[in-house]
Assembly symmetry: C2
Homo-oligomer: 557 residues x 2
């Protein structure tokens, strides 16, 4: 249809979209386009329109329509991939296919502990469902907030908080719309009589699920997600070291416990600012026009929050006896390290809440109530009840501060937060934590930003670093500094072999500097499954990541 | 080169092979061809020659040579895929590429607990290496015997005995020779500077590892394999139920413990014959010409072995306190079930061995010594020391009985054992165990074979069934009955939705009765990666599984 004029092409596309999903589910008004072009990065990309299909059959029809109209599709679940590109496509001019209306919880099996969900199912929704139905199951949840898609995070290979926090290992049986319009069922799912599609992920023959994560090979419309049986006992533990250098030894002491299965959940090791930013924004009034905290102020905030340079946060699950054994192992491991674990139990939290109320409006009462509130949020997260509180860091440099009602309905992209994440993977060793910190800390200082960093024990051998560049989007100079700071960190870490586990749209093109065999292979598979390159061109597809922009520019839409 | 005469083609191929690997590593003498055509199935397939490359570079050269000579390659690790096709290709006339000489242990990291190994590394070899170097690590091992390849089993998605028994979840970073001759490094391995290739499997971008298991997309030449830190305490547990029907309730009681992580290792639930066959073959003299045990004799053997209808076998790992907590949970779960867990500890085994020696040649002494020997083998397996003892079942119907020196050097294919495995996956529910048993038991009876069956808790939600057809290969009638029995079981289970986790060559063509989208997708990827179809044609490639035979027949080699 490329011989038609742009306006005609556009009109034909919209008519065709109306036929597929109904006019109400297609939007190309200025405000919608503006909304979907929003990004916590310096600039987002502009879609040609937004379409919100309500079923897999409509997704199939959209894929066929995309081929007929030569229009690239950008599938998103709920479009809340904040800090990694949000709802934006890699290039301008793509048709955003938001799957938020496909939000059915199709099945929950209490006995074998799994759910089958669609892309629009949010963390809050599944959590509510389990509670309302009185099911003895917990899901894993992330700190990304209640309204984010479970599937969207999993397909980006996000990680959570619980023993099921290595999320991809807890998926079994996907359903995927391919560019051809065919629907692929993975695992055993392609055998209609299968009984174990959601119980045994591998099926028979090549195991394909991994291919459809961080990829643009298809549009996933359904997954089986494993849930945890509720544990009789949960203890949250926190421990803190005073000085920065001590974090190395701390990691060395904790690693054996993660390796041997004593610590089965994702353990998070965050710096002071991760805690400080948990309920506060940058104190502009006190910072004398600077964009990062003066040392003295930082020390003051650290003291007020009662934390050291680094804080470890994790949870123990099991029977009372199992948790007691794990507590003993943890105590023994930390003995003599200068760090000691504090254990939060439900009982302690109830007592703390009571005491906090009794202390009234005194400073001590306020501090205790704040601590109890954090403890309660952590406890809730451990049990799969999501909480927006942990999004506060995204608002650090926002001039208007935290929005009214925060954390309810938090949305960093809508709220014009400046947020970029650099997410290197490192060996689970103290020396590597110190090395990564030493690499990025001077870059943050040079670009005048506060360094927020968490290292999470995402499996038994590796740490996932999440380094936040939080910046003021209303200050063009700061936007540019943020972009440079991100880029400097990304490059330095990449060069040093601390590669990212996940990247935002701005870095897709940089993933393949050497035109290597891996990316050639990925391109070969893409060509086989989607020869016209219509599904999310450029997404984890370095060679096309630049070209997608050009194509869109020349499409005239 | 197809215009040449067969003899000329063959001669040219052999010359080219000599150039690549040297004459000593190419064999096409009658005895070699005979050896590599051996199978525990009714009949194997005949290779055109055997080549044993010594390096990845030679594998690359072989792949290019295969393209030039249009000769299909059948890569095998050590060629001991007994009961599933052994070293045989799916079709005749393929060039068997055995990677047994590529047996380097390239790296072992004691701190982060992993090894990097080549395809030829055997279970015994890695186990010895860890012991000899005094490394505080255990590998997961299978019952397939000391001389089998670790990688070969993992690429077929075999499972083991320990907390690392879900083997594919413990692989990170593969190296793969593609049909193009390119070498693909998965995970982060394609970035030369990567530090976490063997610590974080996913890398960035589509996660491809699963694609290269149960597939013919490439020749894997290297993997990173995670090892367990040695546990301070291991207890093996055994429990048994008297009557068949009780196994359902037993599974129901154990499932919650597997689901909640109390039982972290693979738990095996075997029927009486699994235990009885552990050190004995079919008692022909007592069975009055029958090919399966008369009921009275079976009852007698069961009593002599001191087992009930079903026996559960598993292990607990951890600190003394953690193991004690798990023991308590296991005891509580079994209370009132009629089954009670017996725990084997190292101390008990030492005492038993002492007592066994003291009892001398008495019947009690012999029985105790036999029990201690089994216990020691189980303990060794839990700690990654392989043992051929568990191969005894393959010899059940062999006329000559167990070979001299058994289990040392056991090799069911060489020893002309008749052995076929049917391996359905079922939900981890008592009802499904009883249903699968009720499906296959009458088929075994009808075909006059003893039913050997194990259900293994291969993950938290599914059981992997291993059903053995052990038959006398010297009796043509029994060979035919075995083939029919296998086929009847395979079909019945497939139809009932209990799909196989793995199949032998004889069933590759039957995996895709409906020409479904999954297998079309697999074929599309194969066409992209190996357009000439030269790597293992027919292997987990149903459409080509029949054609491979025809191609080979018409190649004239």
């Amino acid at each position: 249809m490329s011989s038609l004029e742009p306006d005609q092409r556009r009109a034909a596309l919209l008519r065709a979209l109306h036929d597929v999903v109904g006019a109400a589910q297609v939007r190309d008004d200025a405000s919608t386009l503006e909304r979907y072009a929003r990004s916590t990065a310096a600039r987002g990309t502009r879609p040609v329109a937004l379409v919100t299909p309500g079923s897999e059959a409509e997704v199939v029809a959209l894929v066929k329509l995309a081929a007929a109209h030569a229009i690239p599709l950008c599938p998103v679940s709920t479009g809340k991939n904040w800090g990694y590109g949000d709802a934006c496509a890699v290039g301008d001019g793509q048709l955003v296919v938001e799957l938020s209306r496909m939000n059915r919880i199709l099945q929950v099996d209490a006995e074998l502990a799994y759910a089958v969900i669609e892309p629009g199912v949010t963390q809050q929704q599944l959590s509510d469902y389990l509670r309302e139905h009185g099911l003895p199951l917990w899901m894993d949840c992330t700190g990304a907030g209640p309204d984010t898609s479970l599937m969207g995070n999993i397909l980006e290979r996000g990680f959570g908080h619980s023993p099921y926090g290595n999320r991809l290992q807890h998926v079994s049986g996907m359903q995927i719309v391919l560019a051809s319009g065919d629907v692929l069922h993975t695992g055993f799912g392609h055998y209609p009589q299968a009984r174990t599609t959601h119980l045994f992920p591998y099926g028979v023959g090549p195991f394909l699920d991994g291919m459809f994560t961080q990829s643009n090979f298809g549009i996933v419309t359904r997954i089986g997600l494993w849930l945890m049986p509720q544990a009789a006992c949960v203890n949250h533990f926190l421990c803190s070291v005073e000085r920065h250098e001590q974090v190395g030894a701390l990691v060395e002491r904790l690693r054996p416990l993660r390796l041997d299965g004593t610590l089965r959940s994702i353990v998070h090791i965050g710096n002071d600012l991760r805690v400080i930013s948990g309920g506060a924004v940058f104190p502009r009034a006190l910072a004398e026009g600077q964009s990062c905290l003066p040392d003295a102020l930082r020390a003051q905030l650290r003291a007020r929050a009662g934390v050291g340079a680094w804080t470890v946060s994790g949870a123990l699950y099991g029977s009372a006896a199992q948790v007691a054994a794990a507590r003993a192992a943890l105590r023994a491991a930390l003995k003599g390290s200068g760090a000691s674990a504090r254990f939060l139990t439900e009982r302690k939290l109830r007592l703390g809440a009571l005491l906090g109320r009794m202390l009234g409006q005194s400073a001590a009462g306020q501090r205790l109530r704040a601590q109890v509130a954090v403890g309660q949020s952590l406890f809730a997260m451990n049990r799969g009840t999501p909480n927006g509180r942990f999004l506060a860091g995204a608002y650090w440099r926002r001039r208007a501060g935290l929005p009214a009602g925060f954390p309810h309905g938090a949305d960093p992209a809508r709220d014009n937060c400046g947020l970029l994440w650099v997410s290197p993977i490192l060996p689970m060793r103290g020396a590597d934590v110190l090395a990564v910190h030493a690499l990025v800390e001077p870059l943050f200082r040079q670009h005048r930003f506060d360094l927020f960093v968490t290292f999470s024990m995402i499996n038994e051998r590796a740490l996932g670093g999440v380094i936040t560049v939080a910046y003021d989007k209303e200050d063009p100079d700061e936007v540019e500094r943020a972009r440079r700071c991100y880029r400097a960190c990304f490059d330095a870490l990449m060069q040093a072999g601390y590669l990212p586990y996940r990247v935002g749209n701005q870095s897709m093109a940089d993933l393949d500097p050497d035109a290597d065999v891996y990316w050639q292979t990925v391109a070969g598979i893409k060509a086989a499954l989607d020869p016209a390159g219509l599904i999310a061109p450029g997404r984890y597809e370095p060679a096309r990541a630049g070209a997608a922009v050009k194509d869109a520019d020349s499409s005239g839409l």
